[in-house]
Structure formats: C-alpha cells, structure tokens
Amino acid sequence: MFKLKLFCIVCMLLPMSVHALDENYGYPIKGSHEASILGTPAELMPEFPASLPTRQLVLDLFPDREKPPVFFYDEGLRCTFTYQDKKAPLVFIVGGAGASDRSAKLITMTKALHQAGFHVITLPSPTSTNFIVSASSSSIPGDLTEDAADLHRAMEAAWKQVKGDIEVSSFNLCGYSLGASEVAFVAKLDEDRRVFNFRKVLLINPPVSLYSSVTRIEELMKQIPGGSKKQGVFVNRMLSKFSRFYRYGNYVTINEDFLYAIYTEKLFSHAETAGLIAISYRIGMAGMIFSADVMTNSGYVVPKNRVLRYTDSLFDYFLVSTHLSFFDYFNEFFYPYFKKQRPGLTKQELIDSQSLKSIEGYLKSSAKFGLITNENDFILTKTELDYLRQLFGERARIYPRGGHLGNLAYKENLAYMVAFLQDKEIIQ
C-alpha cells in the first residue's frame, strides 16, 4: 500500500520535473506500458514511399543440418535486403526478442534508412524460430557471445550473397531491445575479426543486463490476479472486456482508431496493461523454448525422441511453454547446457556475461557507438538508466517518454537514428 502511495506521488511530481525536457518532444503517449503497446500513431510517423527495391535472402548456413519435419517451412535464414542503385552505406539491423526479419519495427526502420540513402539488411532475432533452426550453432538462444558469433557469421553470408550487386561505402549496425545488446557484441567481435570494420553502431532501447530486464518483464506477470499460472483466465477475461468495448462503442472495424480509443477511454487498467505486455512476451518466449527444445531433442516440453509431423497438433506444447517463465528456462535448460560446456561455470557468472557491463570498457572507449532510449522504458531500473547515461555520455539520446520502443517510429526518433548513422552533426 505504501508503495502504491509513493508511486502515485511520484507520478504526480513527474510531469513537473521533466517538464523542461518535455516541452519540445511531441510523442504523445505518456504511460510507459501504453506507449509500448500502442507504438506511434500513423500521423506522427514520417511519410515513406510506397514500395522499396527489396530482395529476400535465404542463407544456408548449415548445409548438413537435418531439420525436423515440423519446421519444414524453414529453408534457411531469411534476411530482407533493400538496396540503392548507387554506392551507399549499408546497415545491418537486428530486432528484439522473437522478431523475424520482417517485423513491423524493422520494416519501418528500413523505410526510413532507405529513404535517407542506405542499403539495409534486416536479420531475424537469434531468439526467433527461423534463427534457432537455421543459424544458431547450438540452437539454444540467449547467450550474447554465442549469439553474436552466429549473427556475425550470418551477416558475412548475407554480404557474400549481395556484394556482387551493390556498392557499399561503409558498414553500420543497428539493433533494438535484445537486438541492441546483440549488435554491441557483434561489433566487439568484429574488432577481432576485422570483416566489416563497422563505422557506426546504434543501440535502441537496449537492456543493460538481460537477466535483470527479463526479471522486470516477468514481474509484470505478477500484476495478473493469481500470477502467471492463471494467465489463461486473465487472457479470456481481457478478451471479453475488449469485445464488449467494441460492441457498445459502435465501431466499424478493429483498426488504429479503435485501439487508440481503448487507450483514451482507459479500458484496461495499468496492471492489466502490464499483464498484456507480459503475455505477449511469454508467447514469444514460448516459441523460443519450443524451437530450442525440438532442435536439440532435449525432452523439455516435447517428449524426447518424439518426431513431430507438420500436421500434428502443437497446442498443448503452446500452453505448456507459455506457462514456463524465463527463470524456468534459465535454470532448467539454459544454464545446464552451458555448465556442461564449461564445467565450473556458476549461475552468477552466466548472468553477468549477459550484460553490457561485461564489455563496458569497449563500449566506453569506442566512439562509434550511439544510444537511444527513454526515461520510462520499463525494462530498465533507475540505476541502469543512470549507468547508460554515464557509459555513453554525449553519445546517448534519452527521450522523456516512449516506454519500451513505443516511440521508435516517431518521426523525430527516426530522424535522429538516420542522422546518427549518417554521422551528421546532431542537434541535441
């Protein structure tokens, strides 16, 4: 109760203290959770050309790997390549947890960068099924060092496929959320391998420590009555609330206006919004757990040695996997795997290595890095935000609001992203 009171007081004070920063920033959605769900209203995004010259790359990174029949559709790592017909800088982009190469955010970033004269290659997140099946050497995602090595190999293969067709003036990296942490590690690896010699590396809404950020997302789950074990009850209840709202509001269709009305009418409480974010995160995680389990035949959620056919029902695996937390995955699947590889490895060591802090010397000293994040990004604690501020100093751009990635497509944010990667003088 005290906490709640404190929270209310802080909320009341907040608008005043950030007022100065706030004035010129036009992203409208104040709440952190709400911004993360709603993103950017269409009229506040820049205008883009209707079509882009695009080619899908399919990379065969492990020609000898036998893929289980349930993943019959996976024919290699899919990357989306968007090109200029003149010499231009190239940006590799990696999305957040579970994102494919065509996630909405990646498409928006690609449009903005292409419009500004970049070649772009988007890659699936190492936590997406596509990557786990076709590009991960262990098929067990979540280790930044290993995932970065897999990503780097994929980038090399992608570059090999396109280098005959385009002229490139420099290589650059960009990632959001989990993808931001990953590209930081990719950049570091490339300093040794000297393949791309990345000129600019931009991190958008990165976690400082994966473990800590995921813990914060898992905590959102606790705002569901009964916690994560009662997520089914919660989802069904939210759904009927949603239907009712639509029905009594005389809406024509479920579109952006309708979703915006849900926000302005405050259909879902703060706690319920938190629960919905946590559920969507769990659905992504469930996909990752299932894919890793099938690829390694570990008997975690699918019986060991069971060969799933493409017609088999996966529904029970879906429900089981969404009911498992990140901690279950970490303790029962992830950590045991790495302990087997490196005897003597403690949990704390493994946790510590999944953090920007483990490469902070490099991040601090290298001028190529830039950071975009938000004051109210819920995956960061106050301490972590201060840490990022101090680590990146003038290379950090911290917006007063936007939640976790909610303002990514806002015109000012995209303009900053482009300007940073173009290495233009940036007016703060």
Partner: protein, 259 residues
C-alpha cells in the same frame, strides 16, 4: 474474396500432391521419454483455443497455401508490383474495392442496417461517378466511411456461431460459417455481374471477364501483407487462428455472453 473460378486440372493435381506429400518422413526408432513439463501440471483455463476438429487437414491446407504463395502467387504478385507504377496499383485496388461495395451493400441490407446500407450505396455512386469507376475514393473525404461486410458477418449478426475453424485453399483462415458466407457472396456477385454483363457486346467477353477476375485475385494478394510461416513463431498457426476467430466474432457484432 472475389469471384475466383478454378478451371485448372493442374491446380487440383498440385493440391493433391501437396496434401499427400511427406507422409513417410521422420521415422524414428528410439523410444520416447516423457517431457520434463507437460500440460497436466498446470491448472489454468485454456486460452487462445478455437474449435478446430479438422486441425490436421487445416494444417495441410495451411502448408498448401504456403507453397502456392511461394511458387506461384507471390512471384506473380511481385512481377505485377515490379511492372506496374504505384499510382496505377492504387487505382487498380480502388477499382476492385469499389466493386466489393456491392457485397457490403447487400449484407448491410441483410442485417437491416439502413443507415449503413445508404452510406455504402452513396459511396458506390460517388466513387463510380466522381471517382471514375472507383479509381479514386472521394467518398471517404466526404465523410462516408467504408463498412466491410460479408455474408459470414451477416450470419454472425443473426446469431449463427462460427462453427469449426477452417483453412481454405487460397483464401486462408475461415470457418464453416464464413466459408458458407463466401460462397453466398460469390454467387451474388457472379449473378449480378452476369445479369449486367458489361462486356456482352464485345467478341472477347469471356477473355475480358477472365482477365478481370485474375487481376482481381492478384490485387487481393497485393493488398495483403500476410506471409505464411514468416512470423518467427512456431505457434503461428494458433496465433493466426485465434486472431482470425476473435476478430470475426467481434466484428460480426454477435451478442456476447454475460461475464
């Protein structure tokens, strides 16, 4: 969801082959060991569940659509997008979207929604005349909003439940109710356009009709950004099923059970 006539025996052949393929892969002789976590340990309501007794067949069709897209449909759509200027693509979409107003209109009437029907009729008249046969959409800027309607929604509106989930070849996610609705809408459109027969005076009316139908089909796919198996999530089939089902239920305006 437009008139689409399948004339090709080849199509049926491809369909059959794709549905029977891969039946023998994945023989594993090692004994199964129960998984560490199973459904029995959780005591929660099931969620995202939709009646789907024919899941196996549906998954076959889902896969068929994936291959159909990959080897025929999307290459054709990409070719179309490559050779057609964006401005022309938008006009073509406008033309077909305008033809669909017929379906929106009849179904608004079936649901006795007078205002909506009048507004749809107004849209059709304005866009067909001022909008040059639907190429442009001035009606929206006059404040007449588009109301997408179909016979599946009409059935839903009058209380018919969706019935089991279906994945239709080429058309994708559907239900028993919506598949029936699609057939009715198709029949009505076909009947109306046959009665008007705008190309009757031409010697090539059949070829023109077939051309318009084919282009309409390409335009439909062009307007959809969905790609099978590209979500990055292995449970995509369920997520698509869930969102399709809920959206249809909500938009058909079916009465909701009390909480």
């Amino acid at each position: 969801m437009r008139v689409f006539k399948q004339r090709s025996g080849l199509f049926i052949l491809v369909l059959m082959l794709s549905l029977t393929g891969c039946a023998t892969t994945g023989v594993n002789t090692e004994a199964e060991v129960p998984a560490r976590h199973s459904i029995s340990e959780f005591n929660d309501q099931r969620f995202a569940e939709v009646a789907d007794p024919w899941e196996e067949t549906n998954r076959r069709f889902y896969r068929f659509n994936f291959y159909f897209d990959k080897y025929l449909f999307l290459p054709v759509v990409n070719g179309y997008e490559y050779i057609t200027p964006t401005f022309l693509q938008e006009r073509i979409s406008g033309f077909y979207n305008n033809l669909e107003e017929l379906q929106n209109f009849t179904n608004s009437l079936f649901q006795l929604k007078g205002v909506e029907a009048a507004s749809t009729l107004g849209r059709f008249v304005i866009n067909s005349t001022v909008g040059l046969g639907g190429l442009f959409d001035p009606a929206t800027s006059f404040g007449l909003e588009r109301n997408n309607q179909d016979f599946g929604k009409t059935l839903g509106y009058w209380g018919a439940s969706s019935g089991p989930y279906l994945v239709l070849p080429l058309f994708g996610p559907s239900s028993v109710r919506d598949a029936g609705g699609l057939a009715v809408d198709t029949a009505i459109s076909y009947g109306v356009y046959s009665a008007i027969d705008p190309f009757a005076c031409s010697d090539h009316s059949f070829a023109i009709g077939a051309g318009i139908t084919t282009l309409g089909f390409i335009d439909t796919r062009h307007q959809q950004s969905f790609r099978y198996f590209e979500s990055g999530n292995p449970f995509e089939y369920y997520l698509v099923r869930f969102f399709y089902h809920e959206r249809r239920d909500i938009e058909s305006g079916k009465r909701l059970p009390e909480e």
